[in-house]
């Protein structure tokens, strides 16, 4: 018996052989004792395995086994939110946000010196000055004392 025939015989037992091939295999099993013996053995293995697998108890207590699972369970709402966040296309928004942010920074750099209030002359020059020759006036500003003194001297 060829290996191909053996596989056909197995497929027949597993109910996976087309009807036309099944008739051929059935005839083979009826007339060939080797084929009949093989069919019996394959049936036996199926019967044994039908008993199922041995049920093995988890080698940990219920609490310990559950605790190891529970620490990785996200809250149901968070899980839904996480799915929504994944679905949200950040790249699409970043394509707009990056140039917009750059433009805002440039605008800020250009506007900042123009919007700043001009510094007072007194603050800039806390020195003695003479506003006019004919008035004979002296102005003195002290930043430390926060005081401005104007001395008028008639000539």
């Amino acid at each position: 018996m060829t290996h191909e025939t053996q596989l056909k015989l197995q497929a027949w037992l597993d109910g996976e052989l087309p009807a036309s091939d099944a008739r051929e295999v059935l005839r083979l099993v009826e007339r060939d004792p080797d084929a009949a013996a093989l069919a019996r053995e394959l049936k036996l293995t199926r019967q044994w395995l039908a008993a199922g697998e041995t049920l093995r108890p988890v080698p940990e207590s219920r609490e310990f086994y559950w605790a190891q699972i529970a620490r990785y369970l996200p809250p149901r709402e968070s899980a839904t939110l996480a799915v929504r966040l994944i679905a949200f296309d950040w790249r699409r928004w970043l394509a707009w946000l990056a140039p917009a942010a750059a433009a805002l920074i440039l605008l800020g750099v250009w506007l900042l010196p123009r919007l700043a209030p001009p510094q007072s002359a007194a603050a800039r020059a806390p020195e003695i000055e003479t506003p006019g020759e004919e008035l004979g006036t002296f102005t003195f500003r002290s930043d430390t004392e926060q005081m401005t003194v104007v001395w008028v001297n008639a000539r």
Partner: protein, 210 residues
């Protein structure tokens, strides 16, 4: 209305969880009730762990992969619509996780010698088939223990194909899809695994004779 969409009354007492059906526990868990999910874990943990152990043959791996299966089940719980039983659903999840782990560790490929044996039907092909049911008359527990001992001696690839086909009842096509190989390979592996198992169990019977 699908089972998952039906609103369910929140449970407040521990006895309500233990008395509840799997379906109502699933509905509760779908609404975020972790206590309901814990009850499901408690009910089915041995089956899930057993399946992981059957496939991996390693206690530590079986524990980790079974826990991974529960975490994945929680994440995908909204997809469970009750087409199959919860036990079937969670078992399929753990099988897929084990298959992924075996794929990562390249355990799903038969060893070169085994591969040659598979293609030709193996040495077992030439042996006369077993005609006596050496496990006849055994108690179910003893029968399972013998089968377990036989399965333990098969390679990952051959054991997995038996588990998928015989325990899970999957067709050749579905086994091939899950194991990532052709239907022809599944047929060869199944044949080799069955004949090898029969030979191993016959040996086991001989060695245990008084």
């Amino acid at each position: 209305m699908p089972a998952a969409d039906r609103p369910s009354k929140p449970m407040s007492h521990a006895s309500e969880y233990s008395d509840a059906s799997d379906e109502s526990l699933v509905r509760q868990a779908q609404q975020g009730d972790t206590q309901a999910f814990e009850e499901l874990v408690f009910r089915h943990r041995d089956k899930v762990y057993s399946r992981a152990f059957s496939m991996m043959r390693n206690e530590t791996e079986a524990l980790e992969l079974s826990q991974e299966a529960w975490i994945k089940a929680w994440q995908r719980l909204e997809q469970f619509q009750g087409e199959s039983s919860f036990a079937t659903w969670i078992t399929r999840i753990v099988i897929n996780i084990c298959l992924d782990a075996m794929r990562r560790n390249k355990r799903l490929h038969a060893e070169s010698i085994e591969q040659l044996a598979e293609e030709s039907g193996g040495v077992e092909r030439l042996l006369p088939p077993t005609q006596v049911d050496m496990l006849a008359g055994l108690e179910r527990a003893e029968l399972r223990a013998r089968i377990e001992a036989g399965l333990a001696q098969l390679s990952h690839a051959h054991r997995t194909v038996l588990i998928l086909h015989e325990f899970e009842g999957l067709e050749y096509k579905e086994c091939a899809k899950r194991m990532g190989c052709s239907i022809g390979t599944i047929m060869s592996r199944l044949f080799y695994a069955r004949r090898r198992l029969a030979a191993l169990l016959a040996d086991l019977k001989e060695t245990r004779k008084p």
